[in-house]
Amino acid sequence: MIQLILKRVALGILTLLLVSALIFAGTQLLPGDVASAILGQNATPESLAALRQDLGLDLPAWQRYFSWLHGFVTGDLGMSLANRQPVADLLWPRFGNTMALAAYAAIVSVPIAVLLGLAAAVRRGGVFDRGINIVALAFVSLPEYFLGLLLILFLSVQFNLLPSLADTYSGMSFGDWLRATTLPALTLVLVTVAQMMRMTRTAVLSVMDQAYVETAFLKGLRTKRVVLRHALPNAAAPIVNVVAFNIAYLITGVVLVEAIFNYNGLGRFMVDAVAKRDLPLVQAAAMVFGAAYVILNSIADIAAIALNPRLRHPR
């Protein structure tokens, strides 16, 4: 088992490297280069050459890739083109905000979704199962901004319960922070619970169809015991994957939600950087999002290996 986990970690690191190469390649698609994009109409051949040397653009692409990667690993993310500030100072606080919002949403949505999914799977084909499936299908189809706007309209404009903008600042009390971020978190919860619940249901049902579950029922065990002792341990690994998939989704889902509620997170920051075509910012933000995604998926796989009863008790 340890060997399997080590293999997975190595694969994760390799994936991170490939992801970084792909993101770097993606940012090099620009016809012409950054220097002419910055200087625009005022460019003279001399100023272009000077700026290229300044930005290291005279080096070949692979050399720039490695120096970028080296900077990334050592914490130097380069300078923003728009305001000449270090990217790291701008990026990490916002990344913290984004993770806080995603964590808030995940802490609420994961238990609800897993319980609902289990309940629907156990009562397969029943009224509860069919009802909740239709509701879930509707919620899966609703875009984040539709839900977000509805929540703003009802909870903040009509009943004035919660603020419509997620204004946060450092040194804010935890209660105030919760109040400010509840609407965006709730939007994320509504979107992910539906998806996660449907996937949990499918995962549990595929275990419930196995022969050993049928055997357990035929032995005359009660449903509760069959589900908790026989089905659930084997469904744990797929459920962990479902949860990880949705938390990974949360990380990018926040981009839209941050835009709706004007939340000061990495997603909105990256969107602004794309609009301003601020290359070092976009590169760094993409790498942070990509890394978070890869790391989460690796953790999920490792948890799934650790939870698999057959791997935990090798014969």
Partner: protein, 275 residues
């Protein structure tokens, strides 16, 4: 035939009528619009009335006319992207499945790597480099989404190519082209059609989301995601303006999902549902 029609559940009928309605609006929308999409007909955010069914937008343009005209961009861009993504993903997936060996390994590894990055993040990187325009949007989304199509097409083709009739055709000495078009494609169609619905939903929501972020379809074109963004502030004054385009997006997505759900549950098209 009659029994078949009766077997279609109500939810699927609902889905089919929503999809049909949207396709009609997509084709005839601009002709039906009572006002021009950039024509200013009154004061900003005038509430809905008999003359202006959904009220006016932030510039005093008729919301109903803009919804009808915007269907062209919102549905057209995502339809084009889905079609291109299928015409890239299916042939490559079939070739990977039939050739196997290094062709399969190389294609699959490339696809796996691209899929390691969230689609939105990859799209933002490309849009940063190339700027946002309709062709860039269509091709970026098509390329990124074709990875999902590739995976499904590959799995389905692998499943079919080991079946007896495909084996027989291969032993008869049929060419690769025959195998793909005559043996694999017809039998792979049901799962691929259901997948097309799902991929369309995804690209449609994706394009609308990018436009909502201001990075998708650019003015002067009207599109639903951009209309939500432009009218967003009105919600703070209790006005429904941004809810109309948002509801139009939600309605079409629900409609397609209902149809896909029915397709997946009815036939044996359940294999390889991958999102």
């Amino acid at each position: 035939m009659r029994a078949k029609l009766k077997a279609i559940p109500i939810s699927a009928w609902l889905g089919l009528s929503i999809v049909t309605l949207n396709l009609l609006v997509f084709v005839f929308g601009p002709m039906l619009a009572p006002y021009g999409m950039n024509e200013i007909v009154g004061a900003p955010f005038d509430p809905p009335s008999g003359q202006f069914w959904f009220g006016l937008d932030q510039n005093g343009r008729d919301m109903f006319s803009r919804l009808l005209a915007g269907a062209q961009m919102s549905i057209g861009v995502s339809l084009a992207a889905s079609l291109i993504s299928f015409s890239i993903g299916i042939p490559l997936g079939f070739v990977a499945a039939l050739f196997g060996g290094w062709v399969d390994t190389v294609l699959s590894r490339v696809v796996d790597t691209v899929m390691c990055i969230p689609v939105l993040i990859s799209a933002l990187v490309v849009l940063q480099a190339l700027g946002s325009s309709v062709p860039v949007l269509i091709f970026t989304i098509a390329l990124l989404d074709s990875t999902r199509v590739f995976r499904l097409a590959r799995v389905v083709a692998q499943g079919i190519s080991v079946l007896e009739y495909a084996e027989t055709a291969r032993l008869r000495g049929e060419s690769l082209g025959w195998l793909i078009t005559r043996e694999i494609l017809p039998n792979a169609l049901p799962p691929l059609i259901a997948e097309f619905g799902m991929r369309f939903c995804f690209t449609f929501l994706f394009v609308a989301g990018l436009s909502f972020l201001g990075l998708g379809i650019q003015p002067p074109f009207a599109d639903w995601g951009g209309m939500v963004k432009d009218n967003q502030q009105a919600i703070l004054y209790g006005l429904y303006a941004p809810l109309f385009p948002a509801a139009a997006i939600a309605l079409l997505t629900i409609g397609v999902n209902l149809v896909v759900d029915w397709l997946l549950n009815s036939g044996n098209a359940t294999q390889g549902v991958d999102r």
